[in-house]
């Protein structure tokens, strides 16, 4: 099928099925372990490398001008662990007792190099070796090899959230239909799963989820104070994805006690029990990144993938009479229908002049809302 993505006023995507393209690459040169056309799983390593980390310099010079250089127990390039003896000799201590004069590594790493130029300097430098890997994240096919990585594509239901924390993870979707996701909704069966709640999630539920080993939580909203409690610090800018929480949290609507949009919940309910890949990475400024929920199709071939058009046809909906919209600002965070689009500016309660529209809410009330404060469904 063609990729028809319905773009709402803010560009958040909800797509029943589209071709999802992910670039998976290392930050530095490395070994690419996959080939073009290869089928991959989320855990497939696309590329890997070893990079240098911290270094430790160990002084071999002693106060008497001698050096432990001749007593090195390791060679250049040899691996060492924290606590390993790098150099050692027996010396006479107080009262003629034999003691051990030694140098010990405080990090895991490799003997990087040795400098010996007595009496000025004599030292060993140990450098950490860190393994970097990038995984596929979604099941699919490698469609292209790129510098330091590859492009992985899949056919999937694709939903964007408004905000998230935590990195990439995957698991079985488990839709819990309660308004508030509490700790009582979470039990041992939730371990390894991605839970979906219709409304908000409590901090107790989040803590229990982390303890039990839930992989992800997708809800309509969360209180900002609870998010900060979960993170352990106060978030200042919406640039996330690197948090080490133990799971990923995605909110689809906003902060506060907000219900998930019905259309989003329906898509997720339809996918209940299916495997999903989610990412909480968010960047709300230039180069906008929103959290993602990718629910891959179970079976498809590379040919089917290739036949699916990459060009996304956006249906940009414009405001007109009868359009269903959602107001996205307190105190009216709800659905309504456009009944009038006045051209002239209107004076709000704030005394600001703004372009507005008249919205009929579900309870029959008609209110005036600034045009910037709605999103089109």
């Amino acid at each position: 099928m063609g990729d028809i993505v319905v773009a709402d006023y803010l560009g958040l995507r909800r797509s029943k099925e589209r071709r999802v393209r992910k670039i998976r690459r290392l930050p530095v040169r490395g070994e690419i372990l996959v080939k073009k056309g290869e089928r991959v799983l989320p855990t497939t390593t696309i590329a890997r490398t070893i990079v240098a980390g911290r270094s430790e310099s160990i002084n071999l010079m002693r106060k008497d001008g001698t050096s432990l250089y001749e007593n090195l127990t390791k060679e250049i390039g040899e691996r060492v662990k924290r606590g390993d003896i790098i150099a050692s000799r027996k010396i006479k201590g107080f009262f003629g007792r034999t003691e051990e004069d030694k140098c010990v590594s405080s990090i895991n790493g490799v003997i990087d190099f040795v400098i010996h130029n007595p009496p000025i300097i004599s030292m060993v430098v140990i450098r950490e070796r860190i393994r970097l890997e990038v995984k596929a994240f979604t099941p699919g096919y490698v469609t292209e090899i790129v510098e330091n990585g590859a492009i992985v594509e899949t056919l999937a239901t694709h939903i964007q959230g408004i905000f998230g924390v935590g990195g990439e993870t995957y698991g079985e979707l488990n839709v819990i239909n309660d308004y508030e996701l509490t700790s009582e909704d979470i039990d041992d069966d939730c371990s390894g799963k991605i839970l979906v709640g219709r409304g908000v999630v409590t901090i107790e539920a989040l803590r229990k989820a982390r303890k039990i080993g839930v992989k992800g939580i997708i809800v309509g909203g969360i209180d900002r104070i609870d998010l900060d409690k979960l993170l352990g610090y106060e978030l200042g800018v919406a640039i996330t994805g690197y948090e080490n929480l133990g799971f990923t949290l995605i909110i689809t609507e906003g902060f506060g006690k907000v219900r998930m949009l019905y259309e989003t919940l329906s898509l997720l309910k339809r996918s209940n029990g299916r495997f999903a890949c989610i990412s909480g990475a968010t960047q709300v400024r230039s180069g906008v990144v929103r959290p993602e929920i990718i629910i891959p199709k179970t079976e498809f071939s590379l040919d089917q993938l290739k036949k699916t058009s990459q060009k996304r046809k956006f249906i940009i909906k414009k405001l007109k009479l009868g359009t269903t919209i959602r107001v996205i600002q307190e105190p009216y965070f709800e659905l309504g229908k456009v009944v009038s689009l006045p051209i002239e500016l209107y004076k709000l309660k704030t005394e600001t002049w703004a372009r507005v529209l008249d919205v009929e809410l579900h309870d029959g009330r008609t209110i005036k809302i600034p045009r910037t404060n709605v999103e089109i469904l």
Binding site: V5, A7, L10, G11, P27, V28, R29, V51, A52, G53, R54, I130, L132, E147, I162, F163, D223, R224, I225, D228, E234, L235, G236, V237, A238, G254, F255, G256, V284, R285, S286, G287, V288, F314, I316, I328, Q329, E330, P331, Y332, I343, L348, K349, T350, E351, T352, W353, A354, I369, P370, T372, N373
Partner: protein, 617 residues
């Protein structure tokens, strides 16, 4: 920047100026009426440089369409610009500023953090860039982390500096190698090479070329820091501006079309900076300007002739609004609110603004929350501006800046410490200030945020057009200054703030000052109590002489306890005399805090009285 060679400046009748902001594209129309240029109409629409549109022209056309709709003036025909102006249709000149997609995003790479890297940062800021990261040899990060950061940031341009001209070699080349290894891709437009400007040790140009030229657009210019004492930002700044237009804007989505329409395009902060410098020159005064934007807060100072701009890229009224909350704290925001709001509710509201930056406040409470945040944001930005390097008190003077074309090495005294009591003008720009429903709201936000002392003129950008006039001044300075004086710069009035503090319990009980104001045909004599702030009528164009005899511990401008006499000019809000102390003292008790705020707001007529009376205690 290109200039239409066939445009006769004297025959320009209609000018269209655009600002493609990070959230909103703003169109402003100016016309020559009775021999002088005046503002005619405006139009605004969301900026569309990012998905799903990926074309800045959609937002540009929408903003022009709104302008057409509201003014009845035709500018587009089937989506194309009508130029030149004929029979009241079309425009003669189009100029543009841009901070779309977050503006000009730069990465600066130097050697030492508080030497070459810092000079490079100032250079980039002065060119209107947002500096997302400053890398230096001594910043403590391992090379692979730097590579990861370079990749993730996706800057529009990199400024590489380091080494005096006869100085460091190895470390500068190492930095070049790190950039080459990162192989960063440009943010906007994936099919072109990222520009890098090298402004370091000139002896290394050949080596730098070998490392970077194969994969980047490499430009070389004079070293920004040739010795410890002096920095030379102008050649690099000029190059940043040129590269911005030719290489960055030219490849941003839709900008190739915009470049065909416009005669000049510069970063928005560069536009603002030009106008602030023009105002300082025109009035021969020290000034502080604040650009309160959605993504950033820019502070501009022209002090003793020296222009400094600081950008707080993580303080803004939408994208980074939560940073303001984080850095100030709930208590500091709450102290500006005369009503109770629970902390969790305040945090939710502010966080929702962060993730949905385009929403407008619908209730007065929402507006007051935004104003409270604006006050704290300005306080943070001013503190940062006055204490370079960021976060630390200024313990050393900045290096002397050579002027363009000046022979380098001349010794000049550079007084870099901004004395707030010697600031003659405070000027605000940016959506929140320009669109404040009442002028007194923006005046008080500036006063509360900056806490001026003594006599200070207050002004604001009428409807947000300073960047527009800034870019216009590059091509047609006469027109820009005419519009600035007639339609852009709204004189708010004068504030006289008494420096010094008394005790908390002296509020309302001890006289702060005896005031005598003499108008042309009237006079006012009044006693002001400590802790109060008062507004006196003084219309635009009107002057009055003011005589203030202060409490012996307070200083209105002539010295502590000394009588102060001055002639002041009026404006939209008149004359404000602030006896709340410097720094402003707040009641520790929340009930008294709220009561005091209501008193201040009522005394100055900041918000509707009916609403304030509901919160009166």
């Amino acid at each position: 920047m290109t200039i239409e060679s066939n445009v006769d400046l004297d025959n320009i009748r209609v000018i269209l100026a655009l600002d493609c902001g990070s959230t909103t594209s703003k169109a402003r129309l100016f016309k020559k009426i009775a021999g002088e240029y005046r503002f005619l109409a405006k139009g605004e629409a969301p900026t569309t440089v990012e998905e799903p549109h990926n074309d800045v022209m959609v937002g540009v056309r929408n903003s022009i369409s709104e302008l057409e709709e509201l003014s009845g003036y035709k500018i587009l025909s089937r989506g194309e610009l009508i130029t030149p102006n004929l029979e009241e249709v079309g425009v003669d000149l189009l100029v543009t500023t841009s901070s779309a997609g977050g503006g000009l995003i730069m990465l600066v790479v130097g050697l030492m953090r508080f030497l070459t890297a810092e000079s490079a940062e100032r250079t980039a800021l002065g060119a209107g860039a947002i500096v997302m990261d400053v890398m230096a040899k001594d910043d403590g990060r391992p090379f692979y982390e730097k590579i990861d950061v370079i990749r993730r940031l996706k800057p529009d341009m990199i400024l590489l500096v380091g080494g005096f001209d006869d100085g460091n070699i190895d470390d500068v080349l190492t930095n070049a190698e790190i950039i080459a290894s990162a192989s960063p891709k440009p943010r906007l437009g994936s099919n072109f090479k990222l520009p890098i400007i090298y402004a370091g040790n000139v002896r290394l140009r050949g080596h730098i070329k070998k490392i970077l030229e194969p994969n980047f657009v490499l430009k070389m210019t004079e070293n920004v820091r040739t010795n410890y004492e002096e920095e030379n930002p102008w050649p690099a700044r000029k190059m940043i501006e040129e590269v911005f237009v030719k290489h960055v804007m030219a490849h941003a989505p839709g900008y190739d079309k915009l470049m065909k329409w416009t005669s000049a395009i510069i970063p928005t902060p560069e536009g603002e900076g030009r106008i602030f410098r023009a105002i300082a020159a025109e009035y021969e005064a020290n000034l502080i300007g604040v650009g309160l934007g959605g993504a950033t807060i820019n502070v501009y100072s022209v002090y003793n002739g020296r222009y400094v701009r600081t950008v707080n890229a993580n303080l803004g009224m939408s994208y980074s609004i939560c940073n303001i909350l984080r850095m100030s704290g709930y208590e500091k925001i709450n102290r500006w609110l005369p009503f109770d709001i629970k902390e969790f509710e305040l945090r939710n509201r502010i966080s929702n603004k962060m993730i949905r930056p385009t929403i407008l406040p619908q209730t007065l409470r929402d507006l007051m929350i935004e104003h409270a945040i604006a006050r704290e944001a300005i306080r943070l930005a001013i503190h940062s501006h006055r204490s370079l390097p960021p976060g630390k008190p200024l313990t050393r003077p900045l290096p002397v800046q050579s002027k363009p074309g000046e022979e380098k090495g001349r010794k000049r005294i550079s007084n870099t410490i901004v004395d707030i009591s010697k600031i003659g003008w405070l000027i605000g720009t940016g959506g929140l200030l320009s669109h404040a429903p009442r002028r007194i709201q923006s005046a008080l936000i500036l006063i509360d945020g900056i806490e001026p002392q003594s006599e200070t003129n207050l002004a604001q950008d009428n409807i947000f057009m300073m960047p527009h006039l800034g870019v216009l001044s590059k091509i047609y300075p006469k027109a820009a200054m005419e519009i600035l004086k007639k339609d852009c710069l709204i004189r708010l009035g004068t504030s006289i703030s008494l420096a010094g503090q008394l005790r908390q319990r002296d509020k309302g009980r001890i006289k702060a000052a005896e005031i005598h104001i003499t108008y042309s045909n009237d006079e006012v004599k009044e006693t002001l109590w400590y802790g109060s702030i008062k507004r006196f009528r003084l219309d635009d164009g009107e002057t009055a002489s003011v005589w203030i005899k202060p409490h012996w511990k307070l200083n209105p401008g002539a010295g502590t306890g000394r009588t102060f006499k001055t002639n002041v000019e009026g404006g939209a809000v008149g004359l404000i005399i602030d006896c709340r102390g410097r720094p402003v003292q707040f009641h520790k008790d929340r009930q008294n805090q709220k009561r005091e705020l209501v008193d201040w707001f009522k005394a100055l007529d900041v918000y509707p009285k009916k609403v304030l009376e509901k919160w009166e205690i």
